[in-house]
């Protein structure tokens, strides 16, 4: 891990310079929040202020946009372009490289969370979270689980060109179904059935319980367990399907 600061500096620089990545993973959730908040902020959703409800939902959308989708796509692109294979011949240890990527995406998500919370306060008078410790733990749990899933997913996506399409086709519907943008209470039964299996549903539920209803994380152990279990699935997939070499060789 001696090389971690060196590689971390590199990964942060790469993230910031990749305009598409920075926009879709960082800026877009903020933009959507401001737009939706302007429209529904004054309404009541499920008994709470619209803007607060949406803020919690956007934290959910933000985590899958950044550490799940963003990380997954970047990993596929780097693998297919031969960069990872090139790195394997250097003394840079694999865990150091992965750690640097993870920390970069986690920092991006963390910064996004702060921006969302402050924007919500400034634009829509949403109060600061009442249970900051619980919220931080929930966000950390979600980030860990979804980054494991993102790395795991990268092992299944074969081409760099298709990676954006495949990953978007997975995480965007999931964000909708899990209630990031509106309440799932009005969904028809079959959509609710799907939502009940998705990890993001439970994560957003956790965020809403902690932020809106003042719950503490250890009273929500069912949701915590589901998110953690999905994280383990992601970890197993990541360990078994991770490749350094391009999957599509000429």
């Amino acid at each position: 891990m001696r090389l971690l600061p060196h590689e971390l500096r590199n990964q942060l620089r790469l993230y910031v310079r990749s305009r598409e990545l920075a926009f879709f993973t960082f800026l877009l959730p903020i933009v959507i929040f401001v737009l939706l908040g302007s429209v529904y902020g004054e309404d009541k959703i499920d008994g709470v202020d619209g803007s607060s409800y949406l803020l919690a939902g956007m934290l959910g959308y933000g985590v899958v946009a950044t550490v799940f989708a963003g990380l997954s796509i970047v990993l596929v692109i780097r693998r297919e372009s031969g960069v990872l294979k090139r790195l394997r011949a250097t003394p840079l240890p694999a865990p150091t490289y992965i750690a640097a990527m993870l920390v970069t995406f986690l920092l991006a998500f963390g910064f996004e969370v702060i921006c969302l919370i402050l924007l919500a306060r400034a634009l829509f008078d949403v109060p600061l979270p009442g249970r900051p410790v619980s919220l931080a733990l929930v966000l950390l749990l979600g980030a860990a689980a979804f980054s494991a899933l993102g790395i795991g997913l990268a092992g299944f996506v074969r081409s760099a060109e298709g990676s954006s399409a495949v990953v978007n086709a997975i995480y965007l519907p999931m964000a909708f179904l899990s209630g990031a943008f509106f309440s799932p209470h009005s969904f028809p039964d079959f959509l609710r059935a799907i939502a009940d299996v998705l990890p993001l549903t439970y994560f957003i539920r956790l965020v809403r319980d902690v932020m809106l209803h003042g719950e503490q994380i250890w009273s929500e152990w069912e949701s915590v367990a589901v998110v953690a279990a999905w994280g383990l699935v992601g970890l197993v997939a990541a360990l078994r399907k991770f490749h350094w070499e391009p999957r599509e060789t000429a």
């Binding site: 090389l3 031969g82 090139r86």
Partner: protein, 281 residues
């Protein structure tokens, strides 16, 4: 001490045997070129030596270690240029070299490396703005950044224009002068002829010839004699050029004719290579 020793290397992909008992050695400080048609097993051999592939049988020792069991210490001493690899498109040339230099304990100075590959003018250009040939040069620069003892270059000058190719040859020559060992695979026979101390020709997973370029071209007995007579090109191959020339020139002189465009030459490495690798196995 040999930099690389390979004995009886075997590798199969499913039912296809890619390597069927390959043996060769590379002396420390020499430029060694591995030649062969596509599918002969060059890249498989090179990737086994780099530690990317497991061999099915045989021994491989690279800088005193087994590539499959070697660790970070070993990787400090090896530089690799793959056949195809992209780099990070949004970094500048300088940042790219400095990044890789930072992975090594005793790297070269970044600006010195820029000079070695001739990319000084592109120091602050983004990688995605480089031409194909410039990217290849950057590939070489990145491999040099760690100041390795052994360089493994898989077709490094593909896509270079002639001037860039000459410049790359100069770089390789100066690296050799510094005492580096270089393993080079190439399709360019003139490159092998110019640079290599020794070559080996791989065909269908076996080495069919090995030695210095002079030994390989010397081993072929026939000399080519070429001239024009009555506007027609005449090409002769003979193992007894002195006598044949004597007869030809004697005849021509007796008839008061010129043997126009007369050339007498030994086969090039390319011709030797083609004769070794074409036709029936």
């Amino acid at each position: 001490m040999n930099a690389v020793e390979v004995t009886g290397l075997r590798k199969a992909y499913g039912t296809t045997e890619a390597l069927r008992g390959v043996s060769f050695e590379i002396h420390a400080g020499e430029v060694f070129s591995l030649l062969g048609p596509n599918g002969a097993g060059k890249t498989t051999t090179v990737e086994i030596l780099e530690g990317y592939r497991n061999r099915d049988a045989g021994d491989a020792t690279v800088l005193g270690a087994d590539p499959n069991r070697a660790g970070g210490e070993w990787r400090q001493r090896i530089g690799v240029v793959l056949q195809q690899s992209e780099l990070y498109p949004n970094l500048t040339v300088h940042e790219m070299i400095a990044l890789f230099a930072g992975y090594y304990e005793r790297p070269r100075d970044v600006d010195e490396v820029l000079g070695l590959v001739g990319l000084e003018e592109k120091r602050d250009a983004r990688v995605r703005a480089l031409s194909g040939g410039q990217k290849r040069r950057l590939d070489l620069a990145v491999a040099l950044a760690g100041d390795p003892e052994l360089l493994v270059l898989d077709e490094p000058t593909t896509g270079f224009d002639p001037a860039a190719r000459r410049a790359a040859w100069e770089t390789i020559r100066s690296l050799r002068a510094l005492g580096k060992t270089i393993l080079l695979t190439t399709h360019y026979l003139d490159e092998a002829e110019q640079l290599a101390d020794r070559v080996a020709v791989l065909r269908d997973g076996k080495i069919v010839a090995a030695g210095t370029p002079a030994e390989l071209t010397g081993a072929t007995p026939a000399t080519e004699i070429r001239f024009r007579r009555n506007g027609e090109e005449v090409v002769l191959h003979t193992e007894d050029p002195t006598r044949v020339l004597n007869e030809l020139t004697g005849e021509a002189l007796a008839q008061g004719l010129e043997l126009e465009g007369l050339t007498v030459r030994r086969p090039t490495l390319e011709e030797v290579y083609l004769s070794l690798t074409e036709g029936e196995a």
